[in-house]
Symmetry: C2
DNA sequence: CCCCTAGTTTGCAACGTTGCAATGCCACGT
DNA sequence: ACGTGGCATTGCAACGTTGCAAACTAGGGG
């Protein structure tokens, strides 16, 4: 049985309340008493019971991180930052996986709310902001990823449309004209993918390059294997694409693998741009040119957002943008660059 | 304010206790009452308060997963399995990162214990089983990774020595003789690395190949960049190695990248074997031959272990082995295999 | 010598839930 | 009509903590 306040109180010869004060507001306790109590705490190895504390205080100091899959490198890297940033605030992080399924997202969001977390970071693939807003009350929610319209929920994301535009322009600038867009998920209400497609179209339109729908490749998920499949399908077109804008680095890495199998050289025959800047993309051969969201900033911003909402539950929905930059690497080098050279 | 049992009780015209019964043991409640109460629960959107429940029951249904870094693909993949397996048991998972630092491991292990988790899955890089055993009591701990001796704590791992032996034999069988071992971490008490080195030596000894210490490469961490550095250092030896046994796939991927930069062909000039079977290794060019632990089984086993220990806190420390297999892929093909072909 | 103040310490109640054991109710058998 | 047994429901207390406000102590001024 772990020691509780009472045990410590008896040992130190003070009241339970005083021990609680030593733990929570040591400055109001006389030095002598404080030391005596602290000694008793050490001796008994006392740790506050978080359940009791949460019950009494009405706060658990736990937040939920609800993502489609924690083993996708992007989410894993993000989670690492979130956990660190949470720790700096004295919070711990619950992880839940939705696999991107709508029912599961709904269930978890409802579940997580009763689950005694103080806030939820939610990365939806199927649910829209609207739907989420409607499930009112309880712990504040901050969404990852863009959303159409402004609900009552905050959302934090890079400017996907602009980023996709930048990425596509980069390919256009190096002379590519048949640029495929890989990563649409029409079976999900994936607003992020839509924004990226929109940005891709912006760039094509601006450059006067026709938007050939045969170059839009839908995928089931966003894993390596989907990238392989996408490239294989593209290879069957009458005319090969000369570049791929992949909506995630994992897709790009899959496409890269498929290119190798198809005997296509990257970037000579096909250039590749990815999204997310996952670690593996930096070390691939060739290294993957990618759009890098500022992940530490993203994590920090999301937590700040939650923090503010915990203080004031009535805040209106906000729409926060995280900076990003295009990291030009080997799979889609700068316009006139000489071939070869190390990763960025 | 979320509804509580009392609100529901009033609405349904029954006692608080009956509502509690409906929630926990519906079979003891008369059908009519049950339906009335369930309706009230729906209407008020009642969710049990987990803090109160945990306080009263003495169990939180939360387990802690303490790993060095959640963004390492191996741990991310493992976490995904652990979360899924936990969910099947109605548990949620807290994630904590130690960065492999000893003090931090100690702190978290102690912290997590007071933190109201029912059990801890702990993946140490610095602490030994001995040390962990000594920090007695409170929630049960199951360790990931091998440990010397048998403490009072369970540990679950693949047979690293055997696996390393198999991997090294594979390289020897294909004619390699100067095989480097990459991934020692002498600055940590990393027993896993030691076991892998031991297995590597077993294989060399058996084959009568001298164990050249210059081919043992220590690394700071186990990331891609460490693999790059290791390969670079190996390239400066008088005589190049003709194979690398890397203790993680990330190291192997880093080495692969370095080989490309050094103009070394894989596997023709240098063969690579990794460990962990992370997704990225399956799609690399060439794909990485690797030792694959059965991760789903590992997760399942760890949770079963915890479950048993929750029931009986006095169980002796156990030493559980998870199956593994060598996946032969392109970076170190089978002995007489023709070059080329797809990943496994 | 007493009162007041500031500085410490304390008791009580409550957070929402569930274990325990008691109570109430009804139908059945005698 | 009455006792009995079984099912359904209930009240009380407690889990460990902290908010609140009261109580106590000592020191200084009147």
């Amino acid at each position: 049985m772990p020691a509780n306040l009472k045990d410590v109180a008896i040992r130190a010869g003070v009241s339970v309340r005083t021990v609680s004060n030593v733990v929570n507001t040591p400055e109001v306790v006389a030095v002598g008493t404080r030391e005596r109590v602290q000694a008793a705490i050490e001796e008994l190895g006392y740790r506050p019971n978080v359940a009791a504390r949460a019950l009494r205080r009405g706060r658990s100091e736990v937040i939920g991180l609800v993502v489609p899959e924690i083993d996708s490198p992007y989410f894993a890297e993000l989670a690492a930052h979130v956990v660190r940033a949470a720790e700096a605030r004295g919070w711990t992080v619950h992880i839940e996986q939705t696999d991107g399924s709508g029912p599961r997202e709904r269930q978890l969001l409802d579940g997580a709310r009763g689950q005694g977390v103080d806030g939820v970071i939610f990365s939806p693939w199927s649910m829209t902001a609207d739907e989420i807003s409607r499930r009112s009350a309880a712990p504040p929610v901050v969404m990852l990823g863009e959303q159409p319209g402004v609900g009552t929920v905050d959302h934090v994301a890079v400017d996907n449309r602009l980023a996709a535009d930048t990425a596509t322009r980069h390919l256009l600038a190096s002379g590519r004209r048949r640029i495929a867009a890989v990563g649409l998920q029409p079976h999900l209400r994936n607003e992020t993918a839509r924004q990226r497609l929109a940005g891709y179209r912006d760039a094509l339109a601006e450059a006067g390059v026709p938007d050939d729908e045969r170059l839009h490749v839908a995928v089931e998920r966003l894993h390596h294997e989907d990238g392989v499949g996408a490239m294989q399908r593209l290879a069957q077109l009458d005319e090969l694409p000369d570049a791929l804008f992949c909506f995630t680095d994992q897709l790009a890495l899959g496409a890269l693998r498929a290119c190798a199998d198809l005997g296509l050289r990257v970037p000579e025959d096909v250039a590749l741009v990815g999204f997310d800047d996952i670690e593996a993309g930096r070390y691939a051969v060739p290294s993957i040119t990618t759009v890098a969201p500022d992940k530490p900033r993203l994590a920090e911003l999301v937590l700040t957002c939650l923090e503010e909402r915990m203080r004031d539950h009535e805040l209106p929905g906000r729409d926060l943008v995280v900076p990003h930059r295009l990291l030009v690497r080997e799979s889609a080098p700068a316009p006139g660059a000489a071939p070869g050279g190390a990763a960025g």
